[in-house]
Symmetry: C2
């Protein structure tokens, strides 16, 4: 039975992170209107969401600013235009990928920035790079979390080594990331056990970022809550790469802390997410994502299948099986 299993009480330490612009931006190359972003910010404030991730701090050397919307780069000025001085309880986050961010220049001192939290994203083989970024951000005064991606096909010994290294860094939160949407709740429980072991040892928090390939993003997130995981990523209408993420609306419906309100989320979805879907932006559970999830593969082939408007699912199944 889980800690939260009585479903009547709540844990004060649970935090909800809205990743709509960041993971959702991977679907539409970050082309959100200012009205969308402003309304999302206000919806998050009203809904009691704890952090709003605006996008990436991507390197302008590596990525052409003319080929992406501004939230790929998250200039502090652009954030300021939305949040002003952000005199709210909602904190502001951005993601910075190891190897794809000029963090020494592009991330300025926190006291001069509207940003509160730097979310460093790394693979297991770039942990030293991640730690350099974590130290840089911590020295500049930020809260820092670290997403270790693609752990579903890594060795447990490697993961333990990484968590031990990160534990000794100034990072505040380790994230379980189910990049391929391939994990079942039982596996989340086991992983959470490993993460919690190091979190306890080093006094860190644990987070989860789930994908919905097997329709388990929400289920895996609430499994994790019961296992002691405190930081929960979600997106409005579960907008996110491929099969998308844990839906904010299901998550806020589940959490019992009275500071959370589902109604502003419903209003935002009605006003913005339904029209966005109708405009032809495609994400969410579909058979091709189930297949790559089941096979523990990167969703890129499924995303391509979607982009091409293909519907020959059985042919695609043969193709992905051949990748094994």
């Amino acid at each position: 039975m889980k800690n939260i299993a009585d479903l009547m009480n709540y844990r004060e330490s649970v935090k909800v992170i809205d990743a709509t612009l960041r993971d959702g931006g991977l679907v539409n190359d970050f082309y959100f209107t200012d009205e969308f972003v402003r309304d999302l910010y206000m919806a998050n404030v009203k809904a009691g969401v704890d952090y709003m991730e605006f996008g990436y701090k991507a390197s302008k050397e590596l990525f052409d600013v003319n080929k992406f919307g501004k939230w790929k780069f998250c200039n502090d000025d652009d954030i300021r235009k939305i949040v002003g001085d952000n005199n709210t309880d909602l904190k502001i986050a951005v993601m910075a990928d190891v190897g794809r961010c000029d963090y020494k220049n592009d991330i300025i001192s926190r006291e001069d920035s509207p940003i509160d939290l730097i979310r460093v994203a790394t693979y297991l083989n770039t942990i030293p790079g991640a730690i350099d970024m974590i130290e840089d951000a911590a020295n500049k005064g930020y809260e820092v979390s670290c997403n270790i991606m693609a752990i579903s096909n890594s060795q447990e010994a490697d993961l333990r080594t990484a968590l031990d290294m990160l534990g000794q860094s100034p990072v505040d939160v380790f994230y379980i990331v189910d990049s391929f949407g391939s994990l079942y709740p039982e596996q989340i429980e086991r992983l959470a056990g490993i993460y919690m072991e190091f979190a306890t040892k080093y006094n860190k928090k644990v987070g989860i970022h789930a994908h919905n390939n097997q329709q388990l993003a929400f289920a895996n997130t609430i499994e994790a809550v019961g296992d002691g995981v405190d930081w929960l990523d979600a997106t409005y209408s579960q907008m996110g790469r491929g099969a998308g993420n844990c839906a904010m609306e299901t998550l806020l419906g589940f959490l019992r802390n009275p500071k959370y309100n589902i109604y502003p989320v419903i209003q935002f979805i009605e006003k913005h997410m339904v029209p966005l879907k109708k405009s032809g932006v495609v994400w969410g559970y579909d058979l091709q994502y189930l297949m790559t999830g089941l096979l523990n593969q990167h969703p890129r082939t499924a995303i391509q299948f979607t982009k091409e408007g293909r519907e020959d699912y059985s042919e695609f199944y043969k193709e992905v099986m051949a990748h094994e």
Copy 2:
């Protein structure tokens, strides 16, 4: 940690029941083409599915045969036209609702029927009627299961009384039914514990029939497997009333018994379910179903909202809140 949690082994006693025609029939008034039904039958045979539910044995006194497709009534002759002598490992099931079935006349002796399993559906307050139907079906030679509907807003003491009464009947399987799609995995675990207690006492099996209002139909089903529940309902593309059911494709991807194959399911979905959706038949997760699920209400208002093509979700939220 669940029994099946190593995700590598399997339990021989697990059975998969395809409920596409029956629960899906509630979406399109059972108007499936013969080709659809024949192909579904063949897909189930190839996929290793254990039982295929063809529809209801509904009373022709109560329901007008001209207003529904034939699978609302499941004449033995109509089933025979699809399955012949059914020389396969797939068994044939039909559902019979307490108070809506002329079971004494319409259910004939098993030796003269293609049907193997009678699934009696009841509310808690009609258990004596259910037991009469169970005895009738058992006397006629059928396997019998019993779905107790709408348990999410019943008292535990009433549920225990019902299970104790059913335990003394010749029923083979008790079903956990999350009619409103309102239950979380932790609640499924608790309910499964209660059901298993009576199943053990009376040497019965336990099944689960989940709805997807909170995107938890699959998660709740695999939670139940880990709690000892053996009979698992699923539908192709999760077609079913309102938010639909546990998807056959996710379930077969999860189960490790090599007799199950996902590929025929993918082929069937491509050939029949994708076009069916395109033709305008609507089911599946959407905000209105989440709302009634969260509020533990019957989905009828959400189904009406869907039928009317409404998209004013926030207005609907106010309406369902007012029903509380």
